[in-house]
């Protein structure tokens, strides 16, 4: 059966395992892609999706015993160069571009590869770039340095690079992560036309709706093992989630009426040119206010202003009825505002440092005795919060980087809760957190609201906001364009408004 599936396949991997420093990231996984097929690779963070891509493209070498065939040719250990020559291209999740080089060089870098020096054909590279960009229907200056482009345009460049060669198979690792809906639609169009012309696409995305829309088959991984290969016909999002996590989830709207509680945060006509405009909103004690909208809607920028990292051009911020003007985030923290960044890896936590140090960074003042940090108070603070939020750790001296996404996010919450905030701004609190661990994070968030904390929940995932917030605002183009009450609206209505 497996033999048959592999015949004529553009990529056939069998019995692939990969061990990193004693940890098995992949355990006897098989993965087959046929020509012209749009195949989805699904799984939670750390399930091994990226490792599969990196082995197929020769970035990593699989443990001995694996059997890899590319385009019918048995390849013991692919190298990046060999994989490319055999027609495999990748759009990496982190884009893997060169910011200091031009758009044309980034797109046409393949012409510059090879050990033997050769002259740089700038004109030809520019033409190649123009051709591919035209196919994508995007106008970009080929001579602009990449660093001058916003992230969504860089994503286009990464896509363009994958389309340059005569690829038989293109891996797309979260290609839509920073695209607007229109750009995403256009990309999905391109995926379909690639597929029609016989190019296979392996699509990795955390947006399950997207996955089910575009792909014809899905390979599910869990904990480095193969769960199975399934046709997408008849597959639902909840079933896929179940396959990925091995657990069942049922969602219910958690919204409550908090209109009687006193307001904690009031914004009146808050405007910052080029970011957001005329923001009016109120968050009451114990209320979770959700803001959803697409990338670039101005949500994160609003969060930055509330946290004192930027200043509004116009309008007023009132905290507990008193107008405030923060000159730094230090002032905001002292006034009781906390902000959980969407970028946990590089802004939320100091990854290489210890759990204990990350946890105490925000409240160092309270650990001083006679001007010196008291180790006893520090460890009791850490113990308290590890217990309170049920974080699974080895020892508090371990680096934060050793924790899973969900546990890292608990540390982030702990470091901010330790400051005893009145208002907690959560910016995309479940990015990079496994579906299974998200429920736990939201249980904590709801408990905090019950205890009287005012919470602003920002997320581009409408369902997350819908099920967990008391009220939902829809933001687009820097403005609030819709108010929803989850108890009086269906999820479909909200999703229609946000994504269509």
């Amino acid at each position: 059966m497996a033999e048959q599936a592999a015949r004529g396949a553009v990529l056939a991997m069998r019995g692939v395992s990969k061990t990193f420093g004693g940890v098995k990231a992949l355990n006897d996984v098989s993965f087959t892609v046929r020509p012209g097929e749009v195949h989805c690779l699904a799984g939670e963070n750390g399930s091994g999706k990226s490792t599969v891509i990196k082995i197929a493209t020769g970035v990593y070498t699989a443990d001995p015993g694996a059997d890899i065939e590319i385009a019918g040719q048995s390849v013991a250990a692919p190298t990046p160069g060999l994989a490319r020559r055999l027609g495999i291209a990748v759009i990496w999740q982190d884009l893997a571009l060169f910011p200091e080089m031009t758009v044309a060089e980034n797109i046409g870098f393949e012409a510059l590869l090879g050990a033997r020096p050769k002259p740089v054909a700038r004109k030809r590279m520019r033409e190649t770039a123009a051709r591919v960009l035209a196919r994508l229907g995007v106008a970009l200056d080929p001579d602009a340095p990449l660093r001058s482009l916003p992230i969504a345009k860089r994503q286009i460049v990464a896509i363009a690079r994958a389309l340059v060669g005569e690829a038989r198979l293109i891996f797309m690792d979260e290609p839509t992560a920073s695209l607007t809906q229109a750009e995403t639609d256009h990309l999905l169009e391109i995926v379909r036309s690639l597929s029609a012309s016989g190019v296979a696409v392996v699509f990795v995305s955390h947006r399950l709706a997207e996955v089910l829309e575009v792909s014809s088959a899905v390979t599910v991984l869990r904990d480095g093992r193969l769960v199975g290969v399934f046709p997408t016909e008849g597959m639902t999002q909840s079933k896929l989630t179940e396959l990925m996590t091995g657990q069942t989830f049922d969602s219910a709207v958690a919204a409550r009426d908090r209109s009687a509680a006193p307001p904690v945060l009031e914004l009146k006509g808050l405007t910052r040119e080029g970011e957001y405009a005329d923001i009016e909103l109120t968050i009451r004690k114990g209320e979770i206010l959700g803001i959803t909208g697409l990338i670039g809607a101005g949500r994160t920028e609003l969060g930055h202003t509330l946290f004192g990292m930027t200043r509004p051009d116009r309008g007023e911020i009132r905290l507990d009825g008193k107008p405030v003007r923060f000159r730094s985030n230090g002032q905001a923290i002292r006034a009781g505002v906390s902000y959980v960044s969407e970028d946990r890896l590089s802004l939320g936590l100091i990854q290489p440092q210890s759990i204990a140090d990350n946890l105490s960074l925000t409240v160092l003042d309270r650990l001083l005795t006679a001007g010196l940090i008291s180790p006893a108070r520090k460890s009791s603070l850490v113990d308290h919060w590890i217990r309170e939020l049920a974080v699974k750790i080895g020892t508090p001296a371990d680096a934060v980087a050793t924790l899973s996404g969900g546990n890292q996010q608990r540390i982030v919450l702990a470091k901010w809760l330790a400051t005893e905030p009145r208002l907690l701004v959560l910016d995309a609190p479940t990015v990079g957190v496994d579906v299974g661990a998200r429920a736990g994070i939201f249980a904590i968030i709801r408990r905090l609201a019950e205890q009287g904390l005012a919470i602003l929940l920002i997320s581009d995932e409408a369902p997350e906001v819908y099920f967990n917030a008391d009220r939902v605002l829809h933001m687009a183009g820097g403005r609030i364009i819709g108010h929803y009450d989850p108890r009086a609206t269906s999820l479909a209505e909200l999703e229609q408004a946000v994504y269509a």
């Binding site: 061990t19 420093g21 004693g22 990292m309 730094s328 985030n329 230090g330 905001a332 923290i333 902000y339 960044s341 590089s346 802004l347 939320g348 936590l349 100091i350 990854q351 290489p352 440092q353 140090d357 105490s360 960074l361 925000t362 160092l364 003042d365 001083l368 001007g371 010196l372 940090i373 001296a397 470091k415 400051t419």
Partner: protein, 328 residues
């Protein structure tokens, strides 16, 4: 017990102690004068200058930077003392003039450091460049002020500070150990020390946690400058003269000592105790080679080789450790 000691002093201490013992063992076989009080006395006398300068280098490295201006800051500070002494009668100047000069020197060193910290923090320029420009500037300023010559003719007590001792401990060593203690407390127990490590690992994430990182950087470089000034005063007392070029060979040795002590070149990790051990190892190597008839230049070369050897061993150890974990 072992774990607690490791946590308090840093993970490098054990390995470095083994190195230290190995070096001592080898030299005690090679030279019968090695394990003598006189030899250890000479180590104790030579340790402080390099040691204090290394402490001045340690703080910026931990914060993810570097301070290439430590030597020139030290010399400019020493010039300040020399100037105050000369104005107050040269050899006849009193202790009061010296203390005033020392206080001014600390201020000058601090100011030079503050300027570097401010430029680094506000412009975002790489500290290597900022401190490199500062080094060229301060050395130039010193050359201009001294016309490239020596300044000497100090009161007798200056030399006494450099060569005297208290309870049999050389005075410079006392100063050095005091500085080590201050740095140990600073890095282990104070807010600024804590911020230094965090800034070194990820300055943006530290800023997002509400820390005024600009202020922290300015303070880090100011303290580094003050430590340079202390080194400058000690060097002045030891040589009984001030010269712009004094101690320039120490510049890269201080960086070498930090790396040898397991300080992360990118910042964020490193302990005072292990750097102290690294300094002792370097001086023991140097004095041992000296007994065998080698000069300071050979010691310098051996220091470089020793750093390479230690880094290669660390690499091999890490590899081996990963393999071992892979099997179980």
């Amino acid at each position: 017990m072992m774990e607690e000691l490791k946590a308090r002093l840093g993970p490098e201490v054990l390995g470095l102690t083994v190195f230290l013992l190995a070096v001592m063992l080898v030299f005690s076989f090679l030279s019968d004068r090695f394990l003598t009080a006189a030899n250890f006395g000479s180590v104790a006398v030579q340790l402080p200058e390099l040691g204090i300068l290394t402490l001045a280098m340690l703080l910026p490295i931990l914060s993810g930077g570097l301070n290439l201006a430590i030597i020139s800051t030290a010399n400019i500070s020493a010039l300040t003392v020399a100037w105050v002494l000369q104005v107050n009668g040269g050899p006849e100047a009193g202790m009061g003039a010296f203390l005033l000069g020392a206080a001014l020197a600390l201020a000058v060193g601090g100011a030079a450091g503050f300027l570097m910290g401010a430029v680094t923090a506000i412009s975002g320029a790489h500290p290597i460049l900022v401190s490199l420009a500062m080094m060229i500037f301060l050395r130039g300023l010193g050359e201009y002020l001294t016309r490239g010559g020596d300044i000497s003719g100090f009161p007798d007590f200056v030399a006494a500070i450099g060569h005297g001792s208290l309870f049999g401990i050389p005075a410079p060593l006392i100063v050095f150990l005091a500085c080590v203690a201050v740095w140990q407390i600073l890095l282990g127990r104070t807010r600024l020390g804590f911020f230094t490590y965090m800034v070194g690992s990820n300055i943006e994430a530290t800023r997002y946690s509400g820390v005024d990182t600009k202020r922290a950087l300015m303070l880090i470089y100011t303290l580094s400058g003050v430590m340079c000034a202390i080194a400058g005063i000690v060097m002045m007392a030891r040589f009984n003269s001030v010269r712009v070029g004094h101690g320039e060979a120490y510049l890269l040795i201080t960086v070498l000592a930090c790396f040898l002590g397991g300080v992360d070149p990118f910042g964020g990790f490193g302990r005072v105790a292990s750097v102290l051990l690294a300094l002792v190892i370097l001086q023991i190597l140097s004095s041992g080679l000296n007994l065998l008839g080698a000069n300071q230049h050979l010691s310098t070369a051996v220091w470089g080789l020793f750093l390479i050897a230690v880094m290669v061993l660390r690499f091999g150890w890490k590899r081996w450790f990963e393999r071992k974990r892979g099997k179980t």
